[in-house]
């Protein structure tokens, strides 16, 4: 599919799995991120389950890079804020009246690890699955086609919107607008930039809508798809297991929190 996406084409076993199987695995990752109690458990989930799957999908480099880009800044902020303000007994060092505690650092790392597990599950799905296939798999199971249309269209058209915004900025600069000056000058650019972009696209909407109607968008008739997604009985079973495991984990967590 065209448009902005982090999908990386490939023919690995991970790529050929049914999108819903991978979606169920992402769900389990979210449950793990929320429910696993300690840092070693979370790191084991990432290192022993999620990462090997990324390696199996031949996504290792892109996967780790994306993880680092998102979790890195969080790790930095968390280790500072939690380290200084979480409180605790074991003081590692002190800056003025603020002391940096081991307990705080560990609390920060725990948050970062939860984020890493949830993010890993999402990235694994998104990097190995074409969004169009995912949406097709969902609509085949009764997910509203209109939502699938909206999501896929937005993903496809926004890079061209970005380009148009950049063209407008360039044109304004060519007419003497200075970007290297103060914030107020740059803020002045906003209206001439967003105005034409938004007005133009809103006025195209009715043409788009008519084109859709001409192709039977709101027709209640059953629509068939050119592409068929491969699914197997084994995968169906695995999906149920993944969902059951996720629910069990969350229930266990809830139960142990109440007890």
């Amino acid at each position: 599919m065209r448009g902005s996406t982090i999908y990386i084409e490939g023919s690995s076993g991970l790529h050929t799995l049914h999108p819903l199987t991978k979606l169920a695995f992402s769900g389990l990752c979210f449950a793990c991120a929320a429910a696993l109690p300690t840092l070693p458990w979370l790191l084991a989930m990432f290192g022993l389950v999620i990462l090997p799957l990324a390696i199996w999908g031949r996504l290792t480099k892109a996967f780790l890079k994306a993880c680092l880009l998102v979790v890195g800044p969080f790790l930095l902020s968390l280790s500072i804020i939690q380290g200084f303000f979480h409180g605790g007994e074991t003081v590692l060092f002190a800056l003025g009246r603020f002391s940096y505690t081991l307990e705080g650092l560990m609390a920060g790392l725990l948050f970062a690890a939860r984020l890493l597990v949830a993010l890993g599950g999402t990235l694994l799905l998104m990097q190995s699955t074409d969004q169009a296939h995912l949406m097709q798999a969902l609509t085949e199971r009764g997910f509203p086609t209109r939502i699938a249309y909206v999501v896929l269209t937005a993903i496809q058209i926004f890079p061209s919107f970005q380009d148009r915004a950049q063209v407008i900025i360039d044109a304004q600069q060519a007419r003497g607008l200075e970007l290297q000056t103060g914030a107020l000058n740059r803020a002045r650019l906003l209206l001439p930039m967003v105005g034409p972009l938004i007005l133009g696209s809103v006025m195209n909407v009715s043409e788009r809508a008519m084109a859709l109607e001409a192709r039977g968008f709101s027709s209640p008739a059953h629509k068939t798809s050119l592409r068929s997604l491969a699914d197997t009985g084994a995968q169906r079973a695995v999906r149920w297991l993944l969902v059951a495991a996720a629910i069990a984990l969350l229930l266990w967590r809830l139960w142990s929190a109440l007890a």
């Binding site: 919107f161 148009r164 914030a183 906003l190 909407v205 809508a209």
Partner: protein, 228 residues
């Protein structure tokens, strides 16, 4: 439920897709301008204003889903509910005529910004450990150092940036509604009639030029043209 269905025609579905694309495009381009604004909800406010609260909610929610799906900002989905509420507020404010004057539009933006800051703070605090992984975390650290607790530090940080951002977004949408031909506005049917009253013939076919702008102003002042 009837109003819900009315907001999801083929036409408004198409507008929602465009609104999401606008959120993403502006969100990423404005980042490059280096302003202390996000402007990643102009599309949400616009759809909410033109079509209504439900459509605004859908635009906000799905925008954050798309931020996640495209991998541009994977953590966005955690805030999808807040984005939906911004869309609802925009729809309600526009329906009650708050987007007809710049002063009211700015106030509506401020209120939306405060609501969004207050609702975002618990998510940042309890899901992400009180940080968002961006430069604004320095503010959170400063508020913690000043003695505020975890949740209040995030509320305080949010009220620094969100109201200004939403104020600018609402004012931009207000000015766009002035420039948008009355025919386009009437098509979606959320705005009160005074601001969507019929424009003089000839002005409607033209793109958003001065003619349409002045036509919109003229019709807005014509109180007599207000239909029941």
């Amino acid at each position: 439920m009837n109003s819900f269905r009315k907001e999801f025609t083929t036409l408004s579905i198409t507008l929602i897709a465009v609104g999401i694309a606008l959120n993403l495009a502006l969100g990423t381009v404005v980042l490059r301008l280096g302003l202390p604004l996000y402007l990643d909800s102009i599309g949400t406010v616009l759809v909410g204003a033109l079509v209504g609260p439900w459509a605004g909610a859908a635009t906000g929610f799905l925008s954050n889903l798309v931020w996640t799906l495209t991998g541009l900002y994977p953590q966005a989905f955690a805030w999808a509910g807040v984005a939906a509420i911004i869309g609802v507020l925009a729809g309600v404010f526009a329906r009650s005529g708050w987007l007809n004057s710049i002063g009211k539009a700015a106030l509506a933006g401020l209120i939306t910004g405060v609501v969004s800051a207050v609702l975002s703070a618990p998510i940042a605090t309890y899901v992400f450990g009180g940080v968002v992984g961006a430069g604004t975390d320095a503010l959170v650290a400063a508020f913690r150092a000043a003695g505020l607790d975890a949740l209040m530090s995030n509320v305080a940080q949010g009220t620094f940036s969100d109201p200004l951002d939403k104020l600018v977004s609402f004012v931009i949408v207000w000015s766009l509604l002035l420039a948008l031909p009355a025919r386009e506005k009437a098509r979606f049917g959320n705005l009160p009639v005074a601001s969507t009253a019929r424009a003089p013939q000839g002005a409607t076919r033209r793109p958003a030029g001065k003619a349409a702008k002045s036509a919109a102003k003229k019709t807005a002042t014509k109180k007599a043209a207000r239909r029941k």
